[in-house]
Symmetry: C2
Subunit: 524 residues, 2 copies
């Protein structure tokens, strides 16, 4: 059985409650060694070790943290071939461009952006009020952060390499990573690179710990443990809500990303101008990564007119011609089949693709469903449930008023997109629909499809509940994502030499600070 | 029965479930008219009206919001005499300096600081990434904010005038204010000023609504209503935790401030240098406002040596000589008596004052309890429960190691203070104790007592759970407090004329923005 990374050692599990193997979803074959499903002893060991490391890590020089993040990014790039091959075998995601050329560079780039934010003290947001003697900044929680990685990004959201990991480490908090059990060998390899880089840069040995899996009851107990500082989670709504409930009961902040249907509005003028291109782009966005993106266009609003019919016909051609696509697992395949059935039960019609599970391994035929606007509004809750995979629901809207009513019927989502005509003919409709959609989505997109999340300081990869647990935070983009794992601390009348370096008069690190209402890097 | 302010009208209650009167706590006399305890119909009316107003308010010009906040501040100052007299009668808090010279100016000042933050767009924190076409800022929730005011600040934390109110309005969200039933006439007067100022400045009529009281079951239903955008609460831990649980279950952010004992460490050198002064300041801080401050010094750490004995003796003289002090209500009096009894049951000894309820009205004798460090550590949970009123617990620590152990035994608190010698003789001890205390408190204070919360951009009036519900936010200080009622929104590839004004290339409002990592107000 594979070893766990706990308390600065690769060690055999103490009291595993079972084991599991990865499966190649393209073939259905079991691959790789057995990985332990942890019992309570190993979780307790990890919590104790991380708690003991928390103070020392919080007191670590930021430069050391930044050096670790850079070194880890470089190690990931150096191990690219092995990482990509392992992740490809475990997830069925394409080697190129997806894993090798998009997700891996994004992951190392994200770690480097976190390093930059650490060196600049950007996430600490120092505020100085010289008139009152008050100074404030964001500081480490000084407690372990538990990160639950999702199934669909073996690198970029991996519990031991993704944005939650980078953010928690940037705030100098130890991470207890709970890998996703669909890609354990990828996670082990990443943890090994992270651990070696942490030791090489002098970080406490329990800065990075890795567990592969544990039962949900143990997970609920862990996230409700008052020794934990915060939780990052990306995954299903059911799991996210259960974890949120347990964390909330103990007053522990949890940042959960929990599914989204990412409505896309095709306005009449846009379809008239570029219906063929939109159909082509839509197929690409819906089936990219076999549709297993949190920003997948799950619902597309199409006018009930001739241009809308033509768009549907063009899109349907592509969906009908597509071969079954490899999903991440048979579990994902079963959820998708159940989700599509639920949409059909609620009145959606199959209009392209076979909507069928297939083999070898875990595959599904890209498919399109459709429903008219009245039916959608009559069953809006049932029809906006996520069907995670290469499936979209087209909603045919009668007129702009109905499109607005539909926009208002959406729960919180990560993204909302509008495609409008270049000639201005959609501008009046855009204004009204965008106004209705805006408060319901984290990122509003013009004339692009939602898949693809750029790591940028101006990104909001988050959104109103229930797409995430708090609309004020983003899980992607430095330094904003880092804030989630920090606490706001003020110093009142505290002597200069006792202050954190970024709050001292001399500003030796040259940090950007808000001094008496003005951003500057000057000494006081 | 007094009228409620709902949907832009002062109106008779629809289905009150009873009524109540204010009581002058200095005399025990019932004063003023009957106020309704609202039933579900009035709450529903308020939620519907606020929900309908939310979109229009979010679309309002910021200058109009700022003008409202300024006008309301001026109206409060113009009505100062009536406000102060009313609040004095309802709360027993001194007219001067407390109500007239401290709390009222703080309240109007806070509204004006919110107006400044609105005019400068400071709380929107615009971020522009020119390379990716992404722009982000904080935006209104476009849903009602429910504010629960506490008993102890009839102006500065009033649900219809305090920081939560100012913050929610600054983000252009309507407020449903639930007044504290101990000062209904004060709240009615404030709501009347706010409503008139709102109408005069062209805000939607349901921007400000006022309910005086309702049963806790209705309160729990209200905060769990998905039409609500967020909740601000200041009050007891029991009420705060109940509301938090209901709000959490619906994914609604709640910002609850829920009690704090505000540990104060007197280091040996400081006591040697200025024990007499510290004893005098301590008495003032502990009994200010009859000790009814969220930042009251509830626990004071005193060395178990001769200087500590002298400090205790000097403080005891003052407590023994003090007359019974007027509390806010008989409920507060009863809670205080029960809290003191609980501390005594856990091993604390009464060392000064009679620890007795008194009359006329609702009074209590300022009192000091004491316990040694070992006993505190043995019963740390029981001995750090808040006794809200003019009472402190002295904990006698044997040595610096024990002081550190005690610091580590504290739950989350709003503040932590350290008094150290000017000659440097405490510096080594300070460093170790402050390091232990720092992650457990929101505001770390040198050489001052914790009472007194300055409204400053660098304030953190918040702290780790359970002192508040989230350590990343403050309830006082603009623009940080405003963030609580905002959501993070990104614009991706959105055409310039469709962007919010502070994200447009031309930057017509001259807003400070983070453009490609640099704060500036330049046009693009």
């Amino acid at each position: 059985m594979e070893q766990l990374l706990i308390a600065g050692q690769w060690r055999n599990p103490s009291n595993p409650v079972g084991s599991f193997h990865a499966v190649n979803p393209a073939t259905g074959e079991v691959i790789g060694p057995a990985f332990p499903r942890s019992g309570d002893d190993d979780i307790e060991l990890a919590v104790v070790a991380a708690s003991q490391a928390a103070d020392a890590l919080a007191a670590t020089e930021p430069e050391r943290i930044a050096a670790f993040l850079d070194a880890y990014a470089a190690a990931i790039e150096a191990a690219k071939d092995e990482l990509v091959a392992t992740a490809h075998a475990e997830t069925g995601l394409p080697v190129s461009p997806r894993l090798a050329d998009v997700e891996l560079p994004r992951t190392s780039g994200q770690l480097r952006q976190a390093a930059q934010a650490v060196r600049a003290y950007a996430w600490t947001h120092p505020v100085i009020d010289t008139k009152t003697g008050l100074r404030a900044h964001f500081a480490p929680l000084q407690k372990p952060v538990v990160v639950f990685g999702p199934n669909n990004f073996p690198f970029a959201y991996n519990a031991v390499a993704g944005s939650d990991f980078a953010s928690a480490i940037a705030t100098r908090n130890p991470v207890i990573a709970k890998a996703h059990p669909l890609h354990p060998a990828t996670s082990r390899l990443l943890a090994s690179l992270a651990f070696d880089a942490a030791i090489a840069n002098g970080l406490p040995a329990a800065t990075v710990q890795l567990l592969y899996d544990f039962d949900s009851a143990l997970g609920l107990r862990l996230v409700g443990d008052r020794r934990i500082g915060a939780i990052g989670f990306t995954g299903s709504r059911a799991a996210g809500l259960a974890l949120k409930s347990a964390a909330d009961a103990s007053g522990i902040p949890i940042y959960a990303e929990m599914s989204s249907v990412n409505p896309v509005f095709l306005l009449p003028g846009a379809l008239r101008e570029r219906g063929e291109t939109l159909a082509q782009e839509f197929f690409g966005s819906c089936t990219m990564g076999s549709g297993q993106f949190c920003t997948n266009p799950g619902i597309v609003l199409v006018p009930a007119n001739a241009d809308g019919d033509a768009f549907l016909a063009r899109a349907a051609e592509r969906f009908d011609a597509a071969a079954p696509m490899v999903l991440l697992s048979t579990g994902v395949q079963q959820h998708l089949a159940a989700g599509v059935q639920a949409l059909r039960d609620a009145g959606a019609q199959l209009v392209a693709g076979k909507a069928s599970a297939d083999g070898p391994g875990s595959r599904y035929t890209p498919s399109l469903l459709s429903v008219d606007g009245d039916a959608f509004l009559a069953h809006a809750q049932a029809l906006q449930q996520e069907a995670f995979g290469p499936v979209s629901l087209l909603v045919r809207y009668r007129d702009i008023d109905q499109a607005i009513a539909i926009a208002r019927a959406f729960d919180g989502n990560l993204t909302g997109s509008l495609h409008s005509a270049a000639d201005g003919s959609d501008d009046a409709a855009y204004k009204r629909i965008a106004a209705a959609l805006r408060p319901r989505v984290g990122r509003l997109i013009d004339d692009k499809w939602p898949t693809g999340v750029v790591v940028s300081p101006a990104m909001q990869h988050g959104g109103p509940y229930p797409s995430t647990s708090h609309a004020g935070f983003t899980s992607v983009g430095m330094p904003a994502a880092i804030h989630r794992f920090a606490q706001l601390q003020a110093y009142d009348n505290v002597r200069d030499d006792r202050l954190p370096v970024e709050l001292r008069n001399a500003n030796p690190a040259g940090v950007q600070r808000l001094v008496d209402g003005v951003w500057c890097d000057r000494a006081l």
